[in-house]
């Protein structure tokens, strides 16, 4: 119990002192996970919408694969991204292993199926007759898609939150492709693992609290937007 209190106390001390290393680590976590979430949105929203609205052979198979991908273990992603990015690996010429870019890439791979899966579910959950009604009113297909996405925007914000929550909290992939290098690729989760290994439990608790605060802050922001938009 003392340890937890001491951890909270030290976390506050580090935060209040605006510890430069802590700020840099926090900023990098936010930057990497936000970039990865944005990429996953750019990929997941259109492909999820397409999968929800179209009909072609193999569609069910693809949707099943996307749904499986929603639970993709970060360490598996980390392992494969590392092997691909090795100097002597298939895309090693990019020379991005152990950089934040590699972490963005791995986290985008983790978040994209989450965003795609929730997008499919959100669009398909709209009343089936809505689609017919929009078309009957003389809308083009493109206009119909726009209206449907707009109608589904509240559940779609949940997709953003789930995607971001998935990547800000993962440690396996960041550790493998980033290497937890001081001042370069150390993020909140990998630093927490390292400080625990070093026996600096107070610092580890401090880092965890910052991580929780960060996740809460981002989700609070998104929730405020979501609830403001709620149809009355």
């Amino acid at each position: 119990m003392e340890l937890i209190i001491e951890g909270v106390r030290q976390a506050l001390a580090l935060l209040l002192a605006l510890d430069r290393e802590l700020l840099a680590i926090t900023w990098l976590s936010l930057k990497v996970s936000c970039s990865a979430t944005l990429i996953s949105l750019a990929l997941g929203l259109p492909s999820g919408t397409l999968l929800a609205l179209s009909d072609f052979p193999g569609r069910r198979l693809i949707i099943s694969m996307v749904n499986t991908g929603m639970g993709l273990p970060p360490v598996v992603v980390g392992l494969f991204v590392t092997i691909f990015l090795w100097r002597n690996g298939p895309i090693g010429f990019l020379e991005i292993l152990y950089t934040p870019t590699a972490m963005v890439l791995a986290q985008a791979v983790i978040a994209t199926p989450i965003v795609t899966g929730i997008t499919i579910a959100s669009i398909q959950n709209l009343p089936a007759k809505l689609k017919l009604q929009i078309l009957a009113l003389g809308a083009t297909r493109l206009q119909m898609v726009r209206i449907l996405v707009r109608e589904a925007r509240l559940p779609l914000l949940a997709a953003v939150m789930a995607g971001f929550g998935g990547v800000i909290s993962e440690v396996g992939a960041s550790m493998m492709v980033g290497g937890n290098i001081k001042g370069q690729t150390r993020v909140l989760t990998t630093a927490t693992v390292m400080e625990t290994g070093k026996g600096n439990f107070e610092v580890a608790i401090a880092l965890s609290l910052v991580l929780l605060g960060l996740a809460f802050g981002v989700n609070y922001l998104l929730t405020v937007i979501q609830q403001r938009e709620r149809p009355r």
Partner: protein, 283 residues
């Protein structure tokens, strides 16, 4: 097309953040990948040495802190530029197979056998092999790294020397974790474990484990720096690896190693050995 425009904006933003971060971190070919053991990082030694090396040489070091076994695997595949490891028998095989270019002695400290103060296997003060025999015959819990690290290799060597095979025994638990976490497991379960002295000293305050067997010549923990064979993997940063290896055996680094931890723990964590003959350490 609000949505399309939004997506394009989002994508461009993502690219600029990701790309910008990469350019900031890459330093244009002047980076070295150092694959090393968890003990050099967890003890804080590298935090002391690397900034000095980086400032002097202009290289930027990417430290990948893993077990010695994994570090050497990275070396075998040309995925690192220089190794700092502590698994002498495996290192000799590594050199014999032609993966390394040079192998130089850097420093040593020692392993210790730690356990609960109650000492149910009664190993206090006995030699390493006798201690392992007593742990096995008493069935007291032993936490093993189980991760092919240098510490794990040393532990396996000791079991072999004791003529025992603990694999699969109920009292023998493999954590698969780093040294710090394995010490925590041993502490929580009131078991014994083999640890390097530096990590133990760094964690001692929170553990409640005592040193029960130490000082045996078989418990020596020797670190070497290995440059890699760039003939095998042309992408290895050979000049950078050499610069780092030269630095580790330089007088300046050796002095820093010898004084590291003295003020905090009352005794040095590592003893500098550059230039000594391996025989003087009993290798």
């Amino acid at each position: 097309m609000l949505i399309a425009r939004m997506l394009i904006a989002v994508l461009m933003l993502a690219m600029s953040i990701g790309g910008g971060a990469a350019f900031a971190a890459d330093g244009g070919g002047k980076t070295i990948i150092l694959a090393t053991t968890t003990s050099t990082q967890d003890s804080g030694l590298l935090d002391l040495l690397l900034p000095i090396f980086e400032k002097q040489s202009g290289y930027q070091v990417k430290t990948i802190s893993v077990g010695s076994g994994q570090a050497m695997k990275m070396g075998e595949r040309g995925e690192a530029d220089v190794l700092l490891v502590h698994s002498p028998a495996a290192e000799q095989k590594f050199m014999a197979a032609g993966f390394g270019a040079t192998r130089r002695l850097v420093m040593h400290n020692d392993f210790v056998i730690v356990g609960p103060a109650a000492d149910p296997a009664r190993i206090k003060g006995v030699g390493a092999i006798e201690a392992f025999r007593r742990i096995a015959s008493s069935g007291a819990l032993f936490a093993s790294r189980g991760d092919n690290s240098g510490t794990h290799a040393k532990e396996q060597g000791l079991w072999k020397a004791a003529g025992l095979n603990p694999e699969g025994q109920q009292w023998y638990q493999q954590t698969g974790l780093g040294m710090g976490q394995t010490l925590n497991v041993a502490a929580e379960k009131k078991g014994y474990t083999l640890t390097d002295r530096a990590t133990y000293l760094a964690l001692r305050k929170s553990l409640g484990l005592d040193i029960l067997s130490e000082g045996d010549g078989k418990l020596l923990n020797v670190y070497h720096v290995l440059e890699l064979n760039s003939a095998r993997w042309p992408k290895i940063n050979r000049a950078g690896g050499k610069a780092f290896a030269d630095f580790m055996v330089s007088q300046q680094a050796q002095q820093l190693i010898g004084s590291f931890g003295v003020s905090r723990y009352g005794s040095a964590l590592f003893f500098p050995d550059a230039g000594k003959s391996p025989a003087s350490l009993g290798l």
